[in-house]
Assembly symmetry: C2
């Protein structure tokens, strides 16, 4: 058991308010007056969640995007953010503010406050954001799936992981993959539109397999994923192909910031219509059934689980 | 101009929403539905805001307390917190959770969520909290004082600074002073009761003089403080005496987490009644007048400003 797991278990024992959702969800849901607030706080650590040589503009974008992705997964509309910033060197900080400005503009998002501290020089920095959202309708949790529900995912999976490999020098591929790693797009519009249609929803941050397993666990169900159905982009296919290894790699890479959701079979049609309206692929990749654990299959039959399902660091 | 000042000025240019209060206030005030939310995010950096040898239980308490102090200064009732935590060693983390549990219990405060990250080993850690409050009545800013208003402060000033000096080995004194440094008490009840009576309010975190100067600057007024009126505790007097040097030291020490507020002369009586009801001294220490800048006096006449007015790091 890792130190992090122990610590989070101890925190969980303190987080007894229903609004905390047991700290297992992407965000807290707090009723205030007649409003349901959706609250999330995610940090990026240099060298872990971003690379020291990532442009600071992109790091700012990513910090905003990963937090808004949590709100998207709860169907919430962002209404403001607070920044927790550790100063770096002045040029980097200036680039960060420029990127932050672009992200705030891009999402029409008010910067409300925060705290800036001087970090110890040379040490890797931690940048954090608290995002506040307002629920437009129901606020799906990751624990709400029912036996028989189908599992869906938005967009394409694996691009960001391939982009990271390109930056690490271990892969050649389209620059678009790097952009998907550095500047993910939170699926805000899709999240709000899907919230009334789904039984459970979360974002894919640590890896499709590990995150799907978490949804199953939280819902008290087993999950089966059909690897052949995992949506891959043209750029991903061009860089890595589409054999089983490439598909497993995509499904365990993380940093996708796509929506993973469960829905009833009867809602296939409205979901397909929604995908059309949004211009965003929504793909059925599996189902949830009575039982426990994660299983994989492809056209050839059952596929053994890879040793590593994604990032264990428990983002969110 | 420090890197921090430049960075915060650049952020300020982005924080154009009225809710952000220009990033000069202790907290943001966001209207959602019929509710005014008060939001703050403050970090503690090891070696800067707390000492490596402070008990982790007390660091947890302080992290909660300094954030709630910002809410207190806005007259808000805390409704939840999100924790941004960097893992240390398991024993320390366990102590932190224990202290956090005590603080959450003590303030009847729900832990709603947050993010836990593994820090680079050996590097000083940053711990942060986002506190969410609900305004019970008016939400005083630090910019609302009017010429002729009187300046008040709660509790006693300088204890925490003396406590820090004791821990640093440069002073002998009562253990109570160390407790005031390690486990400050946010003035929540007083803040809520004062909010309708004051024209401006903030907490004293960086030092009475620097913070009073900030209130004057934000309000477009000059501030005069009578050093003889600055309230000192018995423990402080016992350790440092009450001569001008001791008073200047108290007024520039910081970490007090007392309330500093401006009020009209006509409200002296209800404020005195409130002090009685709360069992908390509320002391008139000066006034705000047309003009600019900070001036000091004592019974002997004008007192030259010390070179250092408090901490410049701009907490909050």
């Amino acid at each position: 058991v890792s130190a992090e797991t122990t610590f989070i278990a101890a925190l969980r024992a303190l987080a007894t308010a229903p609004a905390a959702r047991g700290l297992i969800d992407d965000a807290a849901v707090l009723e205030v007056g007649g409003t349901r607030l959706v609250l999330t706080h995610d940090a990026l650590v240099e060298g872990i969640h971003y690379r020291s040589d990532d442009p600071p503009e992109d790091v700012a974008w990513k910090l905003v995007a990963v937090n808004l992705s949590d709100l998207a997964a709860k169907g919430a509309r962002p209404i403001g953010v607070l920044l927790g910033y550790t100063l770096g060197n002045p040029d980097w900080d200036e680039g960060f503010v420029r990127g932050l400005g672009r992200a705030l503009d891009g999402f029409a998002l008010p910067l409300l406050g925060g705290d800036t501290v001087a970090g110890p020089s040379g040490a890797p920095r931690t940048l954090s954001l608290t995002a506040i959202g307002e629920a437009a309708g129901p606020v799906p949790s990751r624990a709400g799936a029912a036996a028989g529900d189908e599992l869906w995912v938005s967009g394409a999976i694996g691009d960001a992981g391939a982009g990271l490999a390109i930056l690490q020098g271990s892969l050649h591929g389209d620059e678009m993959l790097v952009r998907r790693y550095r500047t993910p797009r939170p699926r805000l519009e899709a999240g709000q539109a899907l919230a009334p249609l789904v039984s459970a929803m979360m974002d894919v941050s640590d890896g499709l397999l590990i995150d799907a397993g978490r949804m199953g666990h939280a819902s008290g169900l087993g999950v089966t994923i059909d690897l052949d159905e995992v949506p891959l982009s043209e750029a991903y296919l061009g860089a890595l192909g589409e054999d089983r290894a490439a598909r497993l790699r995509a499904a365990t890479a993380g940093d996708d910031y796509e929506l993973l959701f469960a829905a009833r079979t009867k809602d296939r049609h409205p979901i397909a219509k929604l995908a059309e309206r949004l211009g965003l692929p929504l793909t059925r990749i599996g189902q949830l059934e009575a039982g426990a654990g994660l299983a994989l299959r492809d056209r050839a039959g059952p596929v053994p689980l890879p040793e590593r399902l994604g990032w264990e660091h428990g983002r969110g």
